[in-house]
């Protein structure tokens, strides 16, 4: 066991290593932020690379930690997201005093997610969840003197504490009714007696809170708006993705006996989520808030995909998340650059943006199109495959509802595009000089948006790894 423990745990170990390196950086001699950032980004590249080879699967610590190629892939996606985020928040972090601590928190959070994803046991799952949440809550406060930032952090920590309370209640009841914490054993004891369904729903609400599904989403917009863009991006992409992965695997692995129940739960949640997300997104002006609600709507679609509960379901989920990483981060990248260099975060500020910053405008536009699901961007495929997976249950009412809501979502995405390209503005955002590294990140995103969709091998690869019920 100890032989392959390093291989199985390599991503986690690497991350912990990074964390310690950060500590040394902190206590070591004073360095310029730029050098630190470059160093960290370099390390992140290594970290990402390390995950890419040596797929191996198995469980250690008697099943508390399990991994396989699919999980490794998921973690790699998260690593990639982290790398892109850190490249894009260069401008913001360049003149932040505690960037080492910031990275430390973010890494810890990611580490927690890793443990959560490969948790084979409710305890590990809970620990991972808390680990990611607590450190994120701290990170959310990193615009220390911003009122909004601390408000956001407060809202995040309180509501997540509350939700984890509920989650724990659920877990405790599960434990009480089954007498075990490990997933493999759990499945055998799951029946659809009210107590367990109640416990299950408490559990689901905990998940729903993290992925901000309606009606557990209310913290999302405020936190997104308040926290630093980097954290917002991390919240909206990485943490959401991690929880979704875990959620799916738990649903597919553990709760198979009550599949019918959770299918209908998912349907209800998805309908509510899409609807509310769209309705609120329509009327937002703050860009981060807007993205928050749009991402809520996206989660609704994801839930539809998961509800397909087939191999295609989990595959399309991971596929969509990958695409979502590119698209959403491209959007956030532009927003973060603009907010860091021009201090503007409102959609109305983006009027006439194309005249002054064509490059950023195009990046943002392509990202938005991908989010809206317009071909040839990858978002089109992502969304379609999700819906196809959902349609497998022949629940066409849901599909009709979803596809009509896609039209609504088109409206607000196109509204932003309209602001960027068509609206006149006498005081547009001035010409911004983007850090090279950020530019690179954006190029990566765009490339991803284009390639991931058209090159079918990405999807086929994911599909080959994924599992269904």
């Amino acid at each position: 066991m100890s032989s392959n423990i390093f291989i199985l745990l390599r991503q986690e170990l690497l991350l912990s290593l990074l964390i310690f390196i950060l500590l040394f950086i902190k206590i070591g001699k004073e360095r310029s932020n730029e050098s630190i950032l470059n160093l960290i980004n370099g390390l992140l590249v290594v970290n990402l690379a390390a995950g890419l080879f040596g797929m191996s699967e198995g469980g250690i610590f008697n099943g508390m930690f399990t991994t396989n190629a699919f999980i490794v892939l998921e973690k790699n996606i998260l690593n990639l997201a982290l790398l892109i985020i850190s490249m894009q928040s260069y401008a913001w972090l360049k003149n932040h005093k505690q960037l080492a601590e910031f990275y430390l928190l973010i890494f810890t959070s990611l580490l927690g997610m890793f443990f959560m994803i490969s948790s084979g046991n409710l305890l590990m799952f809970y620990l991972g969840l808390e680990m990611s949440t607590i450190s994120l809550a701290a990170a959310a406060n990193f615009d220390l003197a911003k009122r909004k930032s601390s408000e956001a952090a407060m809202k995040l920590i309180l509501s997540s504490a509350f939700s984890s309370g509920i989650l724990l209640m659920g877990i405790s009841f599960l434990y009480g009714t089954t007498g075990t914490l490990s997933f493999d054993v759990l499945t055998a004891h799951i029946t659809n007696n009210p107590m367990q369904i109640f416990a299950f729903i408490l559990l689901v609400s905990g998940f729903a809170f993290k992925i901000s599904a309606v009606p557990f989403h209310l913290w999302t917009a405020d936190v997104y708006e308040g926290s630093p863009v980097a954290v917002t991006a991390f919240l909206s992409v990485v943490s959401k993705a991690a929880v979704l992965f875990t959620f799916t695997s738990i649903l597919y692995k553990v709760f198979t006996p009550i599949a019918t129940v959770w299918y209908s739960v998912l349907v209800v949640l998805s309908i509510a989520t899409i609807l509310i997300g769209n309705l609120f997104a329509i009327r937002q002006d703050n860009f981060k808030r807007f993205l928050a609600f749009s991402s809520i709507a996206q989660v609704g679609f994801i839930l539809i995909g998961i509800s397909g509960s087939s191999q295609a379901g989990s595959a399309s989920l991971v596929y969509f998340v990958l695409i979502y990483v590119f698209s959403n981060l491209a959007a956030f990248g532009v927003v973060s650059v603009v907010s860091a260099l021009a201090g503007k975060e409102n959609i109305s500020d983006f009027k006439g943006f194309y005249k002054t910053n064509p490059f950023l405008a195009w990046v943002l536009t392509i990202a938005l199109f991908s989010l809206a699901g317009v071909p040839p961007t990858a978002g089109f495929f992502g969304k379609l495959f999700l819906m196809m997976a959902g349609a497998a249950k022949n629940n066409y009412g849901l599909i009709i509802f979803a596809s009509l809501n896609m039209v609504v979502s088109f409206y607000y995405y196109l509204k932003v595009v309209k602001a960027i390209f068509m609206d006149e503005n006498e005081t547009p955002i001035q010409k911004l000089s983007i850090p090279k590294i950020t530019q690179l990140a954006m190029y990566i995103c765009i490339a991803g948006i284009i390639i991931t969709g058209l090159a079918s091998l990405v999807y086929d690869y994911i599909y080959s790894l994924s599992i269904g019920i």
Binding site: S159, I166, I197, F198, L202, S205, P215, V261, V265, F280
Partner: protein, 651 residues
């Protein structure tokens, strides 16, 4: 019979002219356009005479009967296995006769226009349009397929539209052209539906086959079309009537005649060509072409008869009251075509009873010459006086002797005074009418009298009534070439046509053109002719006493008729009726409501969807209150709701 293939050149030459002039005329042929097109048309005229000679005298006749010869047939557009539009050339008595008429009259007009249109800015365009018209008219004549007829029918219509609207910056001309096109289009709708009915039941669009199928009373097609009925009338009647509707539209039969008088806005030579000799008789030609089928259906023929007769009478009455000389001529045209129509209507197919048919064709023939002559005469008069109004004329006989002579001949011809052309054809028609239908005969007789009255009213008003005006008239305008009647190119056609107006009556028409192709023995019965001729002469004298010298007799007459006169002068308010229907019903009661509904109801619904969504979204924004405690509350509410839902409701 491929040796008629050269006939194809007769229409193609004008077409070529049109293309050339249309594309390059403005640039390269601004001056020479007239010559070019006249030349090409001269060629086709000669060709058509050659064809006539070959057909009538050499090989057209097979054991005493003139054959229908399909010189060419090419499938142009296939609808379904045996229904298709074919382009082709048919050679039979009437088509050859029409070839002669169209080409020669058109040639005259071309020549006349050389002088008349001289110095026009769009001289080339004018000739391009003329050629286009000639081409389409010839194509119409030679059609082998009823849909081919329809196509050239439309083309004729559009070229007439273009020519009427030739003075495009004159609003009245534009209005007239629009009116002409739309009215005829409306008629063509009927024509189209008629064609579809025929095509559906006949299973073909080929005229020959159609005639074949619908004339044998046993053929399944015939049975099916006669057995199928709609609103009490058999489909055959419907089909034929609708087709006739098309014809009536082009031939300005009541109630579709309103466009013809206004069409006089176009250049006078155009009126001479299109609205006197050729296009307006297309309707007659169409009926004649399908006559065998018509003759199978009494009802349709009756309609043709009475429409024709009524139009003839009505037009004649109106003509007596008009003061614009071209309008007078227009109405007389309408009246004469009415003659031809009812002549067809009362005719039977074949043999002695086919007299009406033959007579109608004959009248068509003769009328073409003297009516175009009249128009060209009027043209040169107008060219000199620069006005269409009678009151501006008078005593012109000294100033323009040739015109005067030609015009007089034409008037005599149309009045049916022997030995002029009109006399013979009219006699035949009257004879036919007398044998078939006394009522029609009466109408015809009365109309004949009216005709001679208003024609001579016209004649006297132009050439006599006042004193010969001083040169002042002509001194008024500044055309370089102004001396009396204008150039020889304008005089020559008058002379030729006058000659025709005298001569063509003597052609033994019945030898060549009859309903069944076999020769028909006709003789002018002197006794019978007394009545019409006498009436005409009386009418002429009457109008002479009214208008030869300026006097008040006419006003007295007007006073006598009073209201009736005013009504007639206002063309019996038909125009007003149409105006009412369009301006007061179609536009405000159909068009505007639909346009409004589209903006406000159909589109409004879409917009409503959008605005409702926005409303809802701002209505529920309270959920996001920013108070973290409420968030927790909702959170727990969600949990409870889900649990209740899935534990108690969705068991």
């Amino acid at each position: 019979m491929s040796n008629y293939l050269y006939i194809l050149w007769i229409p193609l030459l004008p077409l070529a002219t049109f293309v050339v002039l249309g594309l390059f005329g403005r640039k390269y042929f601004a001056k020479t356009a007239g010559i070019i097109s006249t030349a090409s048309l001269l060629t086709s005229t000669i060709l058509s005479f050659v064809a006539a000679k070959q057909y009538f005298f050499l090989d057209g006749k097979v054991n005493g009967v003139y054959q229908k010869i399909i010189a060419l047939k090419y499938t142009w557009l296939q609808f379904s296995p045996n229904v298709s539009i074919d382009m082709g050339v048919i050679v039979d008595p009437i088509s050859v006769m029409m070839l002669i008429v169209v080409t020669s009259v058109s040639l005259m007009v071309h020549v006349f226009s050389l002088g008349y249109m001289k110095g026009e800015e769009r001289f080339a365009t004018y000739y391009a349009f003329l050629s286009l018209f000639t081409f389409s008219m010839l194509g119409l004549i030679l059609s082998v397929n009823i849909f081919q007829v329809y196509m050239f029918w439309e083309l004729v219509g559009v070229s007439s539209f273009l020519l009427i609207g030739y003075y495009f910056n004159k609003p009245s001309a534009v209005a007239a052209s629009k009116k002409a096109f739309i009215v005829t289009r409306f008629a063509d709708l009927g024509f189209l539906i008629g064609i579809m009915i025929m095509g559906f039941y006949g299973g073909t669009l080929d005229i020959g086959l159609l005639i074949e199928k619908f004339t044998s009373a046993q053929s399944p097609e015939f049975l099916s079309i006669t057995s199928a009925s709609f609103l009490g009338a058999s489909m055959l009647t419907w089909g034929l009537t609708l087709i006739f509707m098309g014809g009536a539209g082009k031939s300005a039969m009541f109630p579709l005649h309103i466009w013809l008088p206004d069409a006089m806005e176009g250049p006078t030579p155009v009126s001479a060509l299109i609205h006197a000799a050729t296009m307006v008789v297309a309707g007659v030609y169409l009926v004649a072409r399908l006559f065998p089928i018509f003759s199978m259906d009494e009802a349709a023929l009756t309609i043709v008869t009475y429409v024709g007769a009524f139009s003839a009478l009505l037009a004649a009455i109106i003509a007596c009251t008009q003061t614009d000389i071209k309008r007078v001529l227009a109405y007389s045209t309408m009246s004469q075509i009415g003659y031809m129509m009812f002549a067809l209507g009362i005719s039977k197919n074949g043999g002695e009873n086919g007299l009406g048919y033959m007579a109608s064709m004959f009248h068509l023939f003769t009328h073409a010459f003297f009516k175009s002559l009249l128009f060209l005469g009027a043209g040169s008069v107008i060219h000199m006086v620069h006005s269409n109004e009678m009151k501006d004329m008078g005593g012109l006989r000294k100033l323009m002797p040739i015109t005067h002579a030609a015009f007089l001949i034409a008037c005599l011809a149309i009045a049916g005074i022997p030995p002029f052309a009109g006399f013979f054809s009219k006699e035949e028609i009257l004879t036919a009418a007398f044998h078939e239908n006394k009522l029609i005969y009466g109408v015809a007789l009365f109309t004949a009298a009216l005709t001679s009255f208003y024609m001579f009213r016209l004649y006297f008003n132009i050439f006599w009534s006042k004193e010969a005006p001083a040169k002042a008239h002509s001194a008024g305008h500044d055309d370089a070439h102004d001396h009396g009647e204008g150039t020889w190119t304008m005089k020559l056609p008058l002379i030729i046509l006058a000659a025709c107006a005298v001569g063509v009556g003597f052609i033994p028409f019945s030898q060549f053109i009859t309903s069944d192709g076999a020769a028909l023995e006709t003789h002018i019965d002197m006794v019978f002719s007394i009545a019409p001729v006498a009436l005409s002469i009386i009418a002429i004298l009457l109008s002479a006493s009214f208008y030869k010298k300026e006097n008040t007799k006419s006003d007295k007459a007007v006073a006598v008729f009073g209201g009736f006169y005013r009504a007639a002068n206002k063309k019996f308010y038909v125009d007003e009726l149409y105006l009412f229907i369009t301006k007061k019903i179609v536009f405000p009661l159909i068009g505007q409501p639909i346009a409004w509904a589209d903006r406000n109801i159909v589109d409004g619904f879409i917009l409503l969807l959008a605005s409702t969504t926005a409303k809802i979204s701002s209505a529920i924004k309270g959920l996001q209150s920013g108070k973290v405690q409420n968030y927790a509350l909702y959170f727990f509410g969600g949990v409870l709701a889900l649990s209740v839902l899935f534990i108690y409701i969705w068991k």
